[in-house]
């Protein structure tokens, strides 16, 4: 069914790269486009700890095409969150280069092309749901107060929280808080959505429902998504492609294409192919743990 895991990164995004168009004509502002939305080349990250150095990530290279949904799975401690922080430009790589649509992450951030969803909802407790969603619009001084409000309400509607605009985070359930977090990440209409185990703390049922909603949002808004998770089923359900990491040091060990048809629905979770892919990814995770296995990338 699916090709082997050893496919070349970035070759089969939903938007095929047209090699006839000259490189320079694809402006960075052009959505999707031929230039990879995210590109990592030989990226390593060392942390200086008292008395020793920790190699958190070693020689990571991959690409994400515009409009693609890519997941990175790996055991805890493999540096997947660090990877996402590098892509967001929150930390600098020790070696290698990272580009967002051909630019360094800092520039993409300054142009507000990144949306980040954290492990914790990270809502400001003194702001209402609506005010949390419009926070970054205020920071970017985008639109008038009325326009921001309208946009915020629209986004809350999108994540199914239309009736909770004036609720404080403390009044919202864990799942609702995460929805606000997603709405907030979408507020600036980012090209790239970075998701750091956004549903890790939720129960399985809520997680599946949130995944379905995330998928709908991603389809509607045609953004590029890079998700980090340790949940194999979640990765398969959402992604076009799954990258498998191993720990000590954090490195890429495999890449698996997910050729399941879209649009996807929750009944996919009972599909044979879904099971087969999940099983294969689980095996890859374990073999990566042992330091053997189908190592590539």
């Amino acid at each position: 069914m699916n090709g082997g895991p050893e496919r070349v990164a970035g070759m089969t995004g939903p938007e095929q790269r047209a090699s006839t168009v000259p490189q320079s004509s694809a402006g960075p502002a052009q959505r999707g486009g031929r230039r990879p939305a995210v590109s990592l080349r030989g990226v390593s990250k060392r942390f200086r700890l008292p008395g020793r150095e920790l190699l958190a990530l070693h020689a990571i290279s991959f690409e994400v095409s515009g409009g693609e949904f890519v997941s990175v799975i790996g055991p805890s401690g493999c540096g997947k969150s660090t990877l996402l922080r590098l892509v967001a430009g929150l930390i600098e790589p020790s070696a290698g280069t990272i580009t967002i649509a051909g630019e360094p992450p800092g520039q993409a951030r300054a142009r507000r092309e990144l949306g980040f969803v954290f492990q914790e909802p990270t809502l400001l407790p003194w702001r209402t749901a609506l005010e949390n969603v419009t926070l970054l619009l205020e920071v970017a001084r985008r639109g008038s107060a009325a326009e921001r409000r309208e946009r915020g309400l629209e986004l809350l509607e999108l994540v199914g929280l239309g009736g909770f605009a004036d609720a404080r985070p403390a009044k919202l359930s864990g799942g609702m808080q995460r929805r606000v977090g997603i709405a907030r990440a979408l507020a600036l209409d980012p090209r790239i959505l970075l998701l750091d185990e956004p549903f890790g703390a939720l129960d399985e049922i809520t997680r599946q429902r949130m995944n379905m909603e995330l998928l709908n949002i991603w389809t509607q808004r045609a953004t590029t998504a890079l998700l980090v998770t340790h949940n194999v089923g979640e990765a398969v359900f959402l992604s076009d492609r799954v990258l498998v990491m191993a720990t000590g040091p954090g490195r890429m060990v495999a890449e698996v294409m997910v050729d399941l048809p879209r649009p996807r629905h929750l009944d996919l979770l009972e599909d044979q192919e879904f099971f087969a892919l999940s099983a294969r990814l689980t095996r890859l995770l374990h073999s990566g743990e042992l330091g053997t296995g189908e190592a590539t990338a």
């Binding site: 300054a110 980040f116 914790e120 990270t122 400001l124 407790p125 970017a140 403390a170 864990g174 600036l188």
Partner: protein, 258 residues
């Protein structure tokens, strides 16, 4: 709600019991030097001298308020400067601790020599007494801001000022008000202490005078007024903090939920 009323009644009962005990001891004390004036004697001293008490309390409160304001401004400035330019933090805090460890009771006479026994000495002593808790608490609060919230601001391309106003300051406010509840009574104490070295009016000087005149009921009345002022200062900032930062309670609620 009924539980709250019960608690209120209980604490009221404790106070009444203490007052009763005081009265009992005072009644049993038959010595010529009345070390234990009865509550009634203290109350009558308070009432008889109420005009003087109002004036003196006003003076002390004014000095304390000015000193508190100066102390807070200083502490906030040092804390912010230290957090903005981290390398400075060490030396700024070292200096602050050095100044704080000067015994105020010894510093007061020196200040009187420098600036005379006017308002300046009291304001400086009150400021010194109040600035340290504010500095320590605010610094601590700024350093424990939710790291993710700050990263969120960075991802959104916020400037460090925007992050400060929208995230760091609101997060620090509850702790800042907690510091005020300690610093404000300290400022009152500082002002009274400074008055001992020389003053025309104020609770501290009234206390000193009544001690020298062996006027024990008045001494107790001074004590009562001074502690009332401190309690009032504490209450004002506690309520203000609760009113301005209701999210402090929400935050705990949210954490309990997750």
């Amino acid at each position: 709600m009924t539980r709250r009323i019960g608690l209120l009644l209980a604490s009221g009962a404790v106070w009444l019991a203490l007052l009763g005990l005081w009265w009992l001891i005072a009644a049993l004390e038959k010595g010529p030097a009345t070390l234990w004036p009865t509550p009634a004697q203290v109350a009558s001293a308070l009432w008889g001298l109420h005009a003087a008490f109002v004036q003196n309390a006003g003076t002390t409160l004014g000095e304390a308020a000015l000193g508190f304001a100066v102390g807070v401004v200083l502490a906030v400035a040092i804390a912010l400067a230290g957090e903005r330019y981290r390398p400075l933090a060490g030396s700024l805090h070292g200096l602050a601790i050095g100044v704080y460890s000067l015994p105020l009771i010894a510093l007061a006479p020196v200040l009187v020599l420098w600036t005379g026994s006017g308002l300046t000495t009291k304001v400086i002593i009150a400021a010194l007494a109040s600035f340290f808790p504010v500095l320590i608490n605010l610094t601590q609060a700024l350093r424990t801001t939710d790291e993710n919230a700050l990263e969120l601001m960075r991802v959104g391309g916020a400037s460090s000022w925007q992050a400060f106003w929208r995230v760091e300051l609101p997060y620090a406010l509850p702790m800042l008000f907690a510091a005020f509840t300690v610093a404000a009574p300290a400022a009152i104490l500082g002002a009274m202490l400074a008055e001992w070295v020389g003053a025309n009016s104020g609770l501290g000087i009234q206390l000193l005078n009544s001690m020298q005149n062996d006027d024990v009921p008045q001494l107790y009345a001074c004590l009562a007024v001074a502690s009332m002022l401190s309690l009032l200062a504490w209450l004002v900032f506690t309520l203000l903090g609760r009113w301005l930062c209701p999210w402090h309670a929400w935050l705990r609620l949210a954490e309990a939920q997750n």
